[in-house]
């Protein structure tokens, strides 16, 4: 589900064109729509501060995707830090599918299970699978977004799918 390539000459246009898809991307990675909105909002605010020096000289979408994924990682770290401070047994927080209970019931059972299994994957695998099968990026584009090699993208995606299959099988 690649975002539309709507022309965006100004920041507001860029926001209108890509905000929805970026929030969805963040929500799938971080497991929470509200946290995803915060991540995307922070990315745009930072971009706003640099906009005059960047406008017209670059393709903003790859930058935005990378910034959103990095923002999600930072949000995870903040959340983990808070948990360590306030909880006795602090493991890395597990994301959950970013839907409300009412939204979840509108999904078929198999899709609910699949999204729950996705949320259990390690962060890197989840990022790769969401970028590949939700955003629809190529392996090369994912490699650029995440700053890893195309070969790593390919192997991570394959292992991610295998892990999903195992989780689904064990849950039966």
């Amino acid at each position: 589900m690649r975002p539309s390539a709507e022309p965006a000459d100004d920041l507001a246009g860029l926001f209108r064109a890509h905000h929805l898809e970026l929030v969805r991307l963040a929500a799938f990675v971080i497991g929470d729509v509200a946290a995803g909105e915060d991540v995307v909002q922070d990315v745009f605010v930072r971009l706003q501060q640099r906009w005059d020096s960047l406008a017209g000289q670059w393709d903003p979408l790859p930058y935005l995707r990378t910034a959103v994924v990095n923002g999600c990682r930072s949000a995870f770290k903040r959340r983990a830090s808070l948990q360590r401070r306030h909880a006795a047994a602090a493991a890395e927080p597990l994301p959950v599918p970013p839907l409300t209970a009412e939204e979840s019931v509108l999904l078929s059972e198999d899709r609910r299970r699949l999204l729950a299994a996705l949320a259990l994957l390690p962060r890197r695998r989840r990022e790769v699978l969401v970028l590949r099968y939700y955003v629809g990026l190529s392996e090369a584009e994912i490699a650029t977004t995440l700053g890893i090699s195309p070969g790593t993208v390919k192997s991570t995606a394959a292992r991610g799918l295998d892990a999903l299959a195992r989780i689904l099988e064990e849950a039966r």
Binding site: M1, V23, D38, E102, E103, L106, D110, Y133
Partner: protein, 411 residues
Amino acid sequence: MSTEQERRRQELADQLSQALGAAAELMTERIQASPAPSTRPARDRRSSRRGGRLPGWLVPLAAAAAVAVVVAGSLLVSRIHFGASQPSSATSGPPAFYLTLGTGISPQVEVHRASDGAVTGTVPSTREWSITAMSATAGDRTFFVSETPVQNPAKPNLCPANRFLRFDVTATGAVTGLRQAGRQVAGLNLQLAASPDGTRLAYWAYCGSEPAWGLHVMNLASGAVSSWTSNWAGSVNTTSPADVSGPAQISWAADGRSLALNYQWKGSSQAYLAYQAVLLLNISSKNGPIQDHSRVLWHQGPGCKTFCVYYAQLSPDGTSLVASATKIVRLGGDEYAMSLERISLPDGRVSDVLFHTTIFSQVTGGVPALQLTGDSSATYWLVQVGKNLGWVSDGQFHLLQPYGTIRGAAW
């Protein structure tokens, strides 16, 4: 790596893509109210959200709205070409009134005069209960709504209470005789269909534990409820058109003995939304698995490549379906040809095109389709075309009002 392993991965990847796409559509409603960054700094937005992410009463309504979002699957943009006008052959006019379910802080059902769209009466949501679905009877003057208690979003009840209200509309459109109909039941209800004579209500209810969805018919006089569940096993690999898992769109046969259920059956194609089926359930069976008491009237996919049906409703006489079909005119573009067509039964052939239009749209997911509700004669169809609500008969679209301010309509 074996070919078999590669095939399994590809199949799982397809399923994951579909699941993510469907989930993305469901969360769209919550995301789209966000303003541009230049108008509202991030810090302000965070602090305002801390006070409450989503008002409790909005939750069930958001779910109801999400149904429309999933089916419509798009944000439609303005340029609409209506089909050519033709003289009407109808002998009687369309229903005198129609209902809309509003959006906003206090969503309410409004009664509108069909001749000019004017609001003639209202049924407000209360502080404690939110309206989630509505339905009209064949008499054109009696309507039902279902409502559920306002939810606490921090602790949602997955099996909330549900009650039904009945009201009548006077000749001038005023609401009269608002009262509870039947007995209170358990389960979140997002689909409601009153029987043609108004004595029974059919509804899907969600109640948490498996099987999550149940189809129910309540006799309003006695309060007796018949229930059916799906014996669909839940596997994404099943490919039977009888795989209904709920909540399907419900329409009654005119004799009140059967329900037609329109749903998306489980295929593994990327074009998953085009896997549509209509199943006819014999409700004299009272209880049991849906598949044991029903037959598939019609189904589509995976061969659908041009005009694909995305919604179908049984005509009252049971001899045909009236279906909303969409053709992607420009692949990867924004142009969609949409039609309202009659599909004769049992051969499944398109026997008549009732209306057609072309819509240019910015699609955020899925494929746009006409949303429709037929009157009791199946002659007049209440239709959402892009951002407009109107009615269709004999190929002509009659504009009633903008659709943007409502989340559903019925007559």
